[in-house]
């Protein structure tokens, strides 16, 4: 059985900044390229790699989640897959009819009615008119905008707009489906309908690549996850194994931001001058009494709090709250 998708050492280069080739550079380069296709892939100072040496294969019928912090190269990979862009270097193979849901309402024209837009958007996404004729009622029923189908979509609410867009896209029957964060449209009821539709697709044996930041969605749909970071594929494995890495990366970034903030504020902040004590430093120690910042699950640690008291305190009470970066109180010691 052939693989549905293969990526062999795929690289993609992007330009930074607003600079574009001036005509003076462009015209000679244009003719040079016509004569011999030079594979000039060295990086200029104004360029960067959005995707770096990515290798993976997805067998037919596989359902794979793609995760990574912002700017990891997820959407670039999907755009490469769908053929919107071509890789700078490397080889991709795709076997089967591929549909990409990167932005489902991109094909809408505000002046046209819902009905006209269903046809327009459907054909843009790669359907045949006859196919749309057949599925038209189903699409409209799914989107729940029956009453407004002959109204120009510029009069639609944003919810109706994206529901209609998603409905059109959801009624294609692709062999390979590439989805980029489009499932989060509409209210909860509509979202569960979307997830239901995705499961139906799963049942039909389609190969699916799903980009999402919603861990729960990935967990419920995918068995395998690709984790991207700074354009590199850093982890490829079962969902449960990869998700902790993902959380680690995203939280690490927060942590670094936090540390940076603490450092820049140190010495400047006087908590409250009226207080009798002033906390000067907080250090975490591992079991071996060395300062440490990362701890494994179940590991013991000590907290050392330095403070200056302005007058003698006979029976100090120390309360320590551990608060997660998203504001959830994890524990409170007394």
């Amino acid at each position: 059985m052939k693989n549905a998708v293969e990526f062999n050492g795929v690289w993609k280069k992007f330009k930074k900044g607003e600079k574009f080739d001036s005509l003076r550079d462009f015209i000679p380069n244009f003719f040079k390229n016509l004569i011999h296709k030079n594979e000039n892939i060295a990086l200029n100072e104004s360029e960067f790699w959005a995707v770096k040496d990515v290798n993976f294969t997805i067998p037919k019928g596989g359902v794979v989640g793609v995760m990574g912090p912002n700017g990891a190269g997820k959407s670039t990979i999907l755009k490469l897959l769908s053929g919107i862009m071509s890789p700078t270097k490397g080889k991709m193979t795709i076997n089967g009819r591929l549909s990409a849901l990167i932005e489902v309402t991109a094909g809408f024209h505000p002046e046209l009615t819902g009905r006209e837009n269903v046809y327009l958007n459907g054909t843009i996404l790669g359907m045949k008119s006859r196919e749309i004729d057949r599925k038209f009622d189903e699409i409209v029923a799914f989107s729940e905008v029956e009453d407004f189908i002959d109204t120009p979509v510029k009069r639609y609410s944003s919810g109706m707009y994206s529901r209609l867009g998603f409905s059109v896209a959801a009624h294609m029957d692709p062999e390979i489906l590439v989805v980029d964060e489009v499932l989060s449209v509409g209210d909860i009821a509509f979202q569960s309908k979307c997830a239901q539709k995705m499961r139906e697709l799963l049942g039909s044996g389609a190969t699916i690549l799903l980009v999402s930041h919603q861990i729960s969605l990935i967990q419920s749909l995918c068995k395998r996850v690709l984790l991207l970071h700074h354009g590199e594929l850093i982890k490829d494995g079962p969902t449960e194994e990869v998700i902790p890495y993902y959380q680690n990366i995203t939280f690490k970034k927060n942590e670094e931001d936090f540390k940076h903030k603490v450092k820049s504020e140190q010495g400047k902040v006087k908590i409250n001058q009226d207080l009798l004590i002033e906390i000067s430093n907080v250090v975490l120690y591992g079991k071996d009494l060395k300062p440490k910042e990362e701890f494994a699950v179940g590991e013991d640690f000590e907290i050392k709090v330095d403070y200056n008291a302005k007058q003698e305190i006979p029976d100090p009470i120390v309360i320590i709250d551990i608060i997660r970066s998203d504001g959830v109180l994890c524990c409170s010691l007394n």
């Binding site: 992007f14 330009k15 574009f20 080739d21 005509l23 462009f26 755009k79 769908s82 053929g83 919107i84 862009m85 071509s86 990409a100 990167i102 932005e103 991109a106 094909g107 024209h109 002046e111 046209l112 006209e116 046809y119 327009l120 054909t123 843009i124 996404l125 790669g126 359907m127 045949k128 008119s129 120009p152």
Partner: protein, 261 residues
């Protein structure tokens, strides 16, 4: 190129839908709707007749019916040409959300722009036909050349449109340059006058493929004579060549569109 054409054929439904979209949105929320498609060319023809009248008044010749008819026959294809080029140049940039988000052969966008203008041309030709019936122009066997000449017109326009649409995506200067050329183009193309009246400059008028195409149309429809075969061949070669170059350049640069738009 064969492959590019095959893919276009695969996406013919999209081409059809985009053409329909371009036609529809042009007349949406306009009280007169499709009547504009008839009204606009009539205005263009009227402008041509006015100029002819003015020229006649200056030179002392009377305006004959034939020259009025010849203006209408030439103005319509010329309007088709300039509006096609105008729409095609903007077709990629104006649909940047499609170009960056969804895959389809990008050539459908400029092609649909040209096709939408072709629809306008078809409507105005129908109107012209009705008018020509009233003036009892009559037909000759040479009118059979028109489909071929129109084909050259369409090929030339499409090829140039593809080329300029791609160029405008990389350098927005192109649309201004095109606008300037189109504005002055009417003076250097035999639309409101005949190439023959230009004497020795005639050859330059006909070297412009639009000039030789319009003259050939005039000869076969209005003058009821054999089109000048030399110039017709020239126009044919240039048109087919322009179409091939347009397709090839467009296709070879297509992959770069999404990131350079």
């Amino acid at each position: 190129m064969i492959q590019a054409l095959k893919e276009l054929i695969k996406y013919r439904d999209l081409f059809y839908m985009l053409t329909l979209r371009d036609i529809r949105i042009r007349y949406k929320q306009a009280a007169m709707g499709f009547l504009w498609a008839i009204f606009m060319p009539i205005v263009a023809v009227a402008a041509g007749i006015l100029i002819k009248q003015a020229m006649a008044a200056v030179s002392g010749h009377a305006v004959d019916l034939l020259s009025v008819v010849s203006i209408s026959v030439k103005v319509l294809p010329w309007t088709f040409f300039i509006s096609s080029i105008r729409f095609a140049v903007q077709s990629l940039v104006g649909n940047s959300n499609l170009v960056t988000k969804i895959y389809f052969p990008r050539a459908v966008l400029p092609l649909a722009s040209v096709a939408a203008c072709l629809f306008d041309l078809a409507i105005s030709v129908l109107v012209l036909l009705v008018i020509l019936c009233f003036v009892h122009l009559g037909v000759s066997i040479y009118i059979l050349w028109t489909p071929l000449i129109l084909l050259f017109l369409i090929l030339f326009t499409t090829g140039l449109g593809l080329l300029l649409a791609a160029a405008n995506l990389f350098f927005r200067d192109v649309k201004y340059i095109v606008e300037i050329i189109l504005m002055f183009g009417i003076f250097f193309t035999p639309v409101f006058y005949d190439a023959n009246t230009m004497g020795r400059l005639r050859i330059f008028m006909l070297l412009n493929p639009m000039g030789s195409i319009l003259e050939a149309l005039n000869q076969s429809i209005v003058l009821k004579q054999m089109p000048d075969l030399h110039w017709l061949t020239y126009a044919g070669v240039v048109s087919v060549g322009m179409f091939c170059v347009g397709m090839l350049v467009f296709h070879s640069k297509e992959q770069l569109f999404a990131e350079n738009i």
